[in-house]
Structures are given as C-alpha cells and as structure tokens.
C-alpha cells in the first residue's frame, strides 16, 4: 500500500507533464521564434541558444505592417459581438430554462441544430447576404454574422445555468412580492453570475479567434488580427519571426483573460456537474 502512493503520484505527474508539454509546445515554440532573427528561425537543426531580438515586436507593433489597428479591430468586433450576444442570451436562456410554453422543445432543438451546421457552408450565403445590403467590410456586418453562431451557443449554455437554480427560490421571491422581473434581477441573476462569466469569456474568445468569416466578410476597413497575421504569409516568403510575434500578441489577451478568470471558469464549468454546487 505504502509503495503505491508515490508511484501513483509519479505516474500522474508524467501524464500531466506530457499533456502540458503537448499543449504548451506550439505556444512556447512561437514565443521562442518571436525573439529570433529570420536567419535563426530557418537554421537547421533549430537553435535553442541564440541572441534574442525585439525587432519582430517593434516591426509588428510600430513598423510598416503594424498589427495595432488590427488588434483594435479585433477588440471592437469581439467586444460588440460579446455584449450583444449576452444582452440577448441571458433573457433568452432564462425563458428557455424556466418558462413553460408549448414550443419549448422545438426551439431548444433549433438552437442546438444551428451549432451542428458546418460554418464553411455558411460563408458564401453570408457573403452574398451582406453584399446585397452593402454591409461587407463593416463592423455591423461582421458582428451581425458572429451573432448568428455565438447567440445560439450562449443561449444553450445559459439555459443549463438557469435550470440549475431551484424553482422554489424564484417562487419564494414571487411570494415576497418581487414580481418576475425583480425576482430575476435580485434572486436569479446573482445565482448564475459564474455562468454569465463563463459564457461571456467563451463568446469573447470565439469572436477574438475567429478567422474564416473575418477573412471573407471583412476587408481593408475591418481586418481583425487573425486576418492581419495571415499577411505575413505570402507567395514569395513567410515571415515566420514576425508571424510568431504577431501570434504572441494576439494570444496574450486570451491567455491573460484565461488566467485571471480561471477561478470563475472552473467554478462555472463544474456548477452543472454537482447538483446544488452553486447554492453552497
């Protein structure tokens, strides 16, 4: 028995370490590459000891091909899409999770069904639709298209959080003369805070990381960072070091968000798993 414990721990550490290494490798590789010169990048065998340079960051931030406007563009698109999504998803999730109405099953299935469509099949119709209304390469157009897939996803997530709030709690609030809206505001929403945080983060990340719709529906005015980075890859040459620096800058907000909101995310993800976990 005594011998098993440390062995078990070691095995777990190896599994976790391997998992972490596989996950972290591309990020670390990009991080290393971003500090190399183009010459060092192409060296074979790869160099692990080199003179680090900040030239790549200088170039992608302040040079001719600066991605700063694109980072701003991404921020505008992701923030707008997230804000609008949550504005509609919270009440919709509440309605689907709580209210009894005849078409509930059907509408719940519809929400899920929209998630099953392959996005690539939608790009062309979306392009044509936006072109017809003259909204190609506009923030409004891109955000509207993002809503079509982020909203069903967010509603679906919010429904499960709302369903976890005991009905009796809401009934108690109704008896306490809160009325439905104040019961929602004072009693129900505070219970799903964690869920709202998680959903907001997921929606924001999806919008921030999105590439395909952005590259097709965007243009010169609306060009998120994911699309801008693509410009470092051209027919003649690929500027790997700059691409890496751009990638690190694009990933930074996402990783920071993940680290700061870690507690919320884990809590929000496990609330549904343990019944009543959100109540204690």
């Amino acid at each position: 028995m005594n011998g098993q414990r440390p062995l078990r721990k070691l095995a777990l550490a190896i599994v976790a370490g391997t998992g972490l290494a596989v996950w972290a490798f591309p990020v670390l590789w990009a991080l290393l590459t971003s500090f190399k010169t183009e010459r060092d990048v192409l060296a074979y065998p790869p160099k692990f000891v080199f003179v680090p340079t900040l030239d790549n960051y200088r170039e992608v931030l302040f040079g001719a091909s600066s991605i700063l406007p694109n980072l701003a563009s991404s921020l505008v698109v992701a923030t707008l899409a997230t804000a609008l999504t949550m504005l509609f998803a919270v009440p919709a999730g509440y309605a689907l999770g709580r209210l009894r109405y005849p078409a509930k099953r059907v509408s719940g299935f519809y929400v899920l069904a929209t998630q099953m469509l392959p996005p690539v099949g939608l790009v062309i119709p979306y392009y044509l639709a936006l072109q017809k209304v003259g909204m190609l390469d506009t923030y409004a157009g891109l955000v509207a298209m993002y809503l079509t897939f982020s909203l069903p996803f967010a509603i679906w997530l919010m429904v499960s959080y709302f369903e976890d709030v005991p009905l009796e709690m809401e009934e108690a609030a109704l008896l306490d003369r809160a009325g439905r809206l104040r019961a929602l505001w004072h009693v129900i929403l505070p219970q799903v805070r964690g869920g709202i945080a998680v959903t907001t983060i997921f929606v924001f990340l999806n919008a921030w990381n999105e590439f395909m719709f952005a590259v097709v529906l965007g243009g010169n005015r609306v060009r998120p960072v994911t699309v801008a980075m693509f410009n470092f890859i051209s027919v003649e040459q690929t500027q790997w070091a700059r691409l890496a620096a751009g990638a690190i800058l694009a990933m930074a907000p996402v990783i920071l968000l993940g680290i700061f909101m870690q507690r919320h995310i884990v809590k929000g993800l496990t609330v549904g798993a343990v019944k009543g976990g959100g109540r204690r």
Binding site: P166, M169, E171, L174, L175, D176, A178, V187, P190
Partner: protein, 349 residues
C-alpha cells in the same frame, strides 16, 4: 361571514393533463387557526397549499381570502408568506438580507427594515447570525431563517410545506413546540402541510386528511382519532395504526372467525370491518386466537405483534411482562372501543 385571515376553498379541482390531482376540494379555515393538511405523499396536500399561495392555478373552483375571490391573483398580491420544504433561502444574501427581502420589495425604508429584521430574528432566535450567509448555517438555523423571512412582514396567511422534514428527530420535536408557540403569539392563520400524523395531532387546531386528491375528513385531532370517518383515515392515523379485521356484525356481537366479541351497538346482520386501536387490544380469556410474533420494547411503551392466522394484529401497552414471543393467547377488546366500517364503501357505520 369570514373575518380577517379566514380562508376558503370552494370546489377546487386541479388537473395536470389527463390526471386529476384534486377532485373538488372544499375547505373553510377560521381566522387565526393552525390548520394542517395531512396525507400520504401524492395525496394532493402540497398542491392545495400551492394553490393557496397562488403558485398553481386551479382547473375549477374558487379560492377566497377574507371573503374576497383571489383565485386569479398572482402570489405577490395575496399577502401570504410561505416556508418551503427546501427553505429556498437566497444563497447570495446574508441572513439579514434574506429576512429583509420581503420588506425591501414593498419599499420599506432601510432603518425600518433593520428594526423589523432584528425583531423577527429575535423571535426565532437567530439574531446572532444576521451577517452569515445561508451556506454557513446548520439545517436548523436555515429553517429559522426561512421562518423569520416569512413572519417579518406579518402576512395574513402563513403557509408551511413540511418545514420540519429536513431536521433530525430531536430538533424536529423542539422546533415543533416553538412553531406552535410562535403561531399562537403572532395569531396569523396558518396552513401547514405534513405527511407525519404525529405533527398533525400535536400542532393542529383542526386538520384535513387528504387521500388520493380528496379530503376525506376534517376535524380536531381528537375528533379524527376517536371517530375516523373511513377505513383509510383509520389506517393512516395512529402509531401503530388501527387494527382492521373483516367480521360479521350480528346483533350486539361481531363474529371474527370462530370468536364472538361483543360490540357496543347492535344492528342488522351484515359484513363489516371491525377497527380497534392497538391501545384498546386486550389479552383475554376469550377472543381471537393468536400467537405472539414480536415484542418491541420502546422503553416507555411496548408494541406487541400477534399473528392471528391470516393477519397481523398490533397491541400497544405501557410495559409488557406477561407475554413472550411464541406464546399462544386470545385477544379481546372492550365493546365501546370498536369502530365499524362498511367493507364496500369504507365508510364509518
């Protein structure tokens, strides 16, 4: 006419799709009364309570409070307070926040809320816990918090849904006493749901026995215990419940198998069900032959189970010294202790 706090149900029917949960319930609860809805699970008692609260609509019938028809009123307008079985406390608020919530919702000034919250908390003995959150309270403390939230705004009707069922046995007895004292001191009409007949017997001014969506008897605990109106009520009230034996009623006697036992009333010869409370069963020189199957010593009392061939009969007595498991005895009872029921309808004769 009904005074302040009086409640009346008239022909209340509740259907869920094809199933009928309540088959026309009529009930009149007097102002200030402690009224218990008693019945096994699924008998419709909680549904009735929720209809009083306005949390369920009725399929037919009317709900009247102080003579006014409130059937269509939403819960918030009925001026009723409810303690849920799960307590339904708001986990993100402190005890003070929970108790003060109903006052906040009607726009009470903060200083007054603070005063009233403290007063309500004092009444149930949780004044020292006001800054905690529900998650930091024991089950008993949570229950008191729910009580305080219900009494804080002095509702005209106080509804309790099995409020003691989540407490351990000792705490349940203590809280039962306190609940009764609290209700008496506040004088608020109270409707209390339970499946525990002991709670009903000890708490109620009057209670209604629900069986399969119908009220089968309404009365004081003494009335219902002494004269159960149906076999079902007889079988539900009392620990252990009444012994029920098929018999032939013939003049002034009941024939049970070969045994002939005198009863207090005489009537035409017919099939009946004879009911005898376990406390009224005696070991006699003549009577129903039986074997002692089990002697359960509860300390202050003893339950003896007898096997009389095709059925088990129970006796409850203070102490037992004269019988042992396996003994062959004869069982009898005083003629006035006998209840007679119609075997076809189950009604009391």
């Amino acid at each position: 006419m009904i005074e302040a706090g009086g409640v009346r149900l008239e022909g209340v029917v509740k259907r869920h799709g094809a199933t009928t949960v309540l088959h026309g319930v009529d009930l009149a609860i007097a102002p200030g009364e402690f009224f218990v809805l008693l019945g096994p699970s699924g008998s419709g008692k909680t549904t009735t309570l929720r209809i009083l609260a306005g949390l369920e609509t009725v399929s037919a019938g009317r709900v009247l409070m102080e003579g006014i028809d409130v059937t269509a009123q939403p819960p918030g307008e009925r001026d009723v307070a409810m303690v849920f079985q799960s307590y339904a406390l708001y986990p993100h608020m402190t005890v003070a926040g929970n108790v003060g919530f109903p006052l906040k919702m009607i726009g009470t000034p903060p200083e007054r809320i603070e005063r009233e919250v403290l007063a309500a908390a004092n009444k149930v003995g949780i004044a020292h816990l006001l800054q905690r959150t529900p998650g930091q309270l024991s089950g008993g403390q949570q229950q008191r918090c729910a009580l305080a939230r219900a009494i804080v705004r002095q509702p005209r009707l106080f509804l309790l849904d099995e409020p003691l069922s989540n407490l351990d046995a000792k705490l349940r007895l203590e809280t039962r006493l306190e609940l009764h004292r609290l209700q008496r001191s506040l004088g608020i009409t109270t409707v209390y749901v339970t499946h525990d007949q002991e709670e009903a017997m000890t708490l109620a001014d009057r209670f209604a026995v629900f069986i399969e969506g119908r009220i089968v008897q309404v009365g004081t605990p003494r009335e219902v215990y002494d004269a159960p109106q149906t076999v079902d009520v007889a079988a539900f009230i009392g620990t252990p419940p009444m012994n029920l034996v098929p018999a032939l009623w013939d003049g002034g006697v009941a024939r049970i198998g070969d045994a002939v036992l005198p009863v207090s009333r005489s009537g035409p010869r017919r099939e009946v069900i004879v009911g005898v409370r376990p406390a009224d069963v005696r070991i006699a020189a003549q009577g129903i032959p039986a074997t002692v199957e089990r002697v359960e010593d509860l300390g202050d009392s003893t339950i003896v189970s007898f096997d009389s061939g095709d059925r088990l009969l129970k006796q409850k007595r203070d102490r037992v010294t004269d019988v042992r498991e396996g003994d062959a005895v004869r069982l009898g009872f005083a003629p006035e202790a006998v209840h007679l029921f119609d075997p076809a309808t189950g009604e009391r004769l």
